[in-house]
């Protein structure tokens, strides 16, 4: 039975700004699901509605089979980690973690045991007597996590917890979070706009845009079988290359280039003359010299990253991005390169609806 379920949640803010529209979500027990989306897409709203911090206008929320739609947050048995951690400034770390347990009526001993247990788990045992304002960003985050875990809630809700950390810390915490939630084996709903975070941490991703759910599925599903152009473009760094192609006599034609359409795509292109072709940067093969059925491109810029490089190529006034190994760069002598697409990895999208064919 799914642990958390959202059914047709709609929320409209003042002045008719749509927060969420008919948003559905199913999260199974012990699953780690990320609600991923750009700023203002409604992901935080969805999370807050699950928590009870906002009230939906339409739709129902279920936690562990119970309809909690009209129950206030204090009775939903959840834990929420805020983007800014929301630690109580007037209490020390111990108190911050203990207060939720105290309210629920645990004995002093039980509280002490729990707090120490969770402090060890998050390596903050020596910080228990400190006040939040004396802690670093990373330490505060651990306290926020400890507070959540100590309560042993039904669901963990995390609202962009890594956004306020610097890049190095963020990477480290990402790994730690993954380990942490694996150890606890809890149900987690995570919100972020960072697709790398989403891909690395979650079992499933719910991609949301402008208040609507675009696709719900495993990371692989969203990456290799995106429902539409939006999903395809959102996941993947650098993002997928897309451009319009026409179909003529069994070939994809764009500009002066054309190549034969591989057999496996034939069923998809019945009665279609134009579509949008997508190819991911890592699926573009780059050659220093012309190869059979390759196209020539002009090098626009080279971005050297650690371990790989991004080539911005100018092909007939379209910019394509390709990813190559670092060493490849050193062997580039000229301004032109030849590229070929990996024909197994083509994405075909309907030109008007932008859906995957």
């Amino acid at each position: 039975m799914p642990e958390v379920r959202l059914e047709k949640i709609t929320k409209i803010f003042d002045k008719n700004i749509v927060g969420l529209k008919d948003f559905n979500l199913q999260v199974k027990d012990k699953e780690f699901v990320t609600i991923l989306g750009p700023s203002g897409s409604g992901k935080s709203t969805a999370l807050r509605i699950i928590a009870g911090l906002e009230r939906q206008d339409k739709g129902e929320v279920f936690i562990d089979g119970i309809n909690v739609s009209r129950i206030p947050p204090q009775e939903r048995n959840i834990a929420f980690v805020f983007q800014s951690y929301a630690l109580y400034p007037h209490m020390n770390v111990y108190e911050n973690i203990a207060v939720g347990l105290r309210i629920k009526g645990y004995s002093q001993n039980e509280i002490k045991t729990r707090v120490q247990e969770v402090a060890e788990l998050l390596e903050i045992s020596d910080l228990l007597k400190r006040k939040p304002k004396t802690l670093s960003g990373g330490q505060r985050q651990r306290v926020a996590l400890a507070r959540a875990i100590a309560k042993r809630p039904k669901v963990f809700l995390l609202d962009e917890p890594l956004s306020n950390l610097d890049a190095i810390l963020r990477e480290r915490m990402r790994t730690e979070l993954k380990l942490l939630f694996k150890r606890i084996s809890g149900t987690v709903i995570y919100v972020t706009h960072d697709q790398a975070e989403a891909i690395s941490l979650s079992d499933k991703i719910a991609l949301i845009d402008k208040g609507r759910l675009r696709q719900l599925g495993s990371t692989d599903e969203l990456y290799y079988q995106p429902k539409d152009l939006f999903v395809a473009s959102f996941l993947g760094t650098p993002p997928i290359n897309t451009f319009e192609v026409t179909i003529k006599e069994g070939n994809f034609v764009f500009g002066p280039y054309s190549f034969k359409i591989p057999e496996k795509y034939w069923p998809k292109i019945k009665n279609i003359s134009k579509l949008i072709l997508g190819i991911r940067p890592e699926d573009i093969k780059v050659y220093l010299k012309p190869e059979p059925s390759s196209f020539v491109c002009n090098i626009s810029t080279v971005e050297k990253m650690s371990g790989y490089a991004i080539l911005n190529l100018n092909c007939q006034n379209k910019t394509l991005k390709a990813v190559v190994e670092r060493d490849f760069i050193t062997s580039i002598r000229e301004e032109n390169l030849w590229i070929k697409f990996n024909e197994d990895k083509l994405y075909l999208f309907n030109r008007d609806t932008q859906q995957l064919l």
């Binding site: 009230r55 562990d64 119970i66 009209r70 129950i71 206030p72 009775e75 048995n77 309210i103 629920k104 009526g105 309560k151 042993r152 809630p153 039904k154």
Partner: protein, 301 residues
């Protein structure tokens, strides 16, 4: 009140508070809230409103029973008498003169001091702040005797300066805090740029800082004027202004209502009260946002 809520992970004993989000309870809460708000507003405005009503009654109605809450005939006779009373007008004039002078000078000093405090770290800064604290913390009575002595020695009794000096002094703490707070919001880079460009410190103050400060100056001026040491002040005015023609209007009214209670009818006294408080009320209404903002910022310090 022990609240042992259900333990997690296991089945929830469903909360009996399911009605929490029901529209009926919500409606009732809203109504009682607004009733409370109305009651609070009435409480706060009632004394003043009653004065207004009574000031519009004529002499017979004021002393008639049962009490009328709405005057049967609005009469401005009380106001007419007051305005034609030279002594009352003199009181008003004194108040206006003294309050405006206080506001002006206090504003001047507070701006200069506020600027110095916000920008420059001076050795005497703490001592200065200590003096400010003394001036605002302790009640007036503590300063009364020596100040009277001082004013008498300086031969300032019955002269406006006797009031302006202490008024400016005791208005300084709040004014300085408001101005300091404001100056701290002006980025230092602006002045640093000006210094690099060769401006003298004085020029920076007058040509750059001053024009930027207009809103804060306005807020500060209002706070001084409606504060306890300008228009509204009583004790020092009562003590230092002994001659009738030097008195300010709060003292004037208090005396009128005291000794000569049987000579001046209450509708006239009420009218005097209204006339005295009206300018303040108008100020508060027009500038209410500014005032509350200014005080709030001061309070946060």
């Amino acid at each position: 009140m022990s609240l042992s809520f259900i333990n997690f992970g296991e089945t929830d004993k469903l909360s009996t508070k399911k009605y929490r989000f029901s529209p009926i309870i919500y409606g009732l809460t809203q109504i009682s809230f607004y009733l409370l708000v109305i009651f609070i507003v009435i409480l706060h405005l009632a004394p003043f409103l009653w004065q207004v009503i009574c000031s519009l009654k004529n002499v017979d109605e004021i002393y008639s029973l049962p009490l009328k809450y709405i005057p049967s005939k609005i009469s401005l006779s009380a106001y007419r008498d007051l305005i034609s009373n030279p002594l009352f007008l003199r009181y008003l004039l004194n108040s206006i003169l003294i309050s405006l002078s206080t506001t002006f000078f206090c504003l001047l000093l507070a701006s200069l001091s506020g600027y110095a405090l916000s920008r420059l770290s001076l050795r005497f800064k703490t001592f200065f702040q200590f003096l400010l604290l003394i001036a605002c913390l302790f009640p007036q009575i503590i300063f009364l005797v020596p100040l009277y002595e001082l004013m008498a020695n300086l031969k300032l009794i019955n002269k406006p300066l006797a009031l302006v000096l202490p008024y400016v002094t005791f208005s300084l703490p709040l004014a300085v805090w408001v101005m300091t707070g404001f100056f701290q919001t002006i980025p230092k880079e602006i002045e640093e740029q000006a210094i690099i460009d060769g401006f003298s410190r004085l020029k920076i103050l007058t040509k750059i800082i001053l024009p930027l400060s207009r809103p804060a100056l306005a807020t500060c001026a209002i706070l001084i004027f409606i504060g306890p040491f300008a228009w509204n002040e009583f004790l020092f005015s009562l003590s230092f202004m002994i001659k009738d023609t030097s008195r300010t209007v709060p003292v004037g009214i208090a005396l009128l209502s005291g000794a000569s209670m049987y000579e001046m009818p209450w509708n006239k006294i009420c009218a005097a009260c209204v006339l005295t408080t009206l300018p303040l009320i108008i100020f508060v209404i027009i500038f209410q946002k500014r005032i509350i903002e200014g005080l709030t910022r001061g309070a946060l310090k």
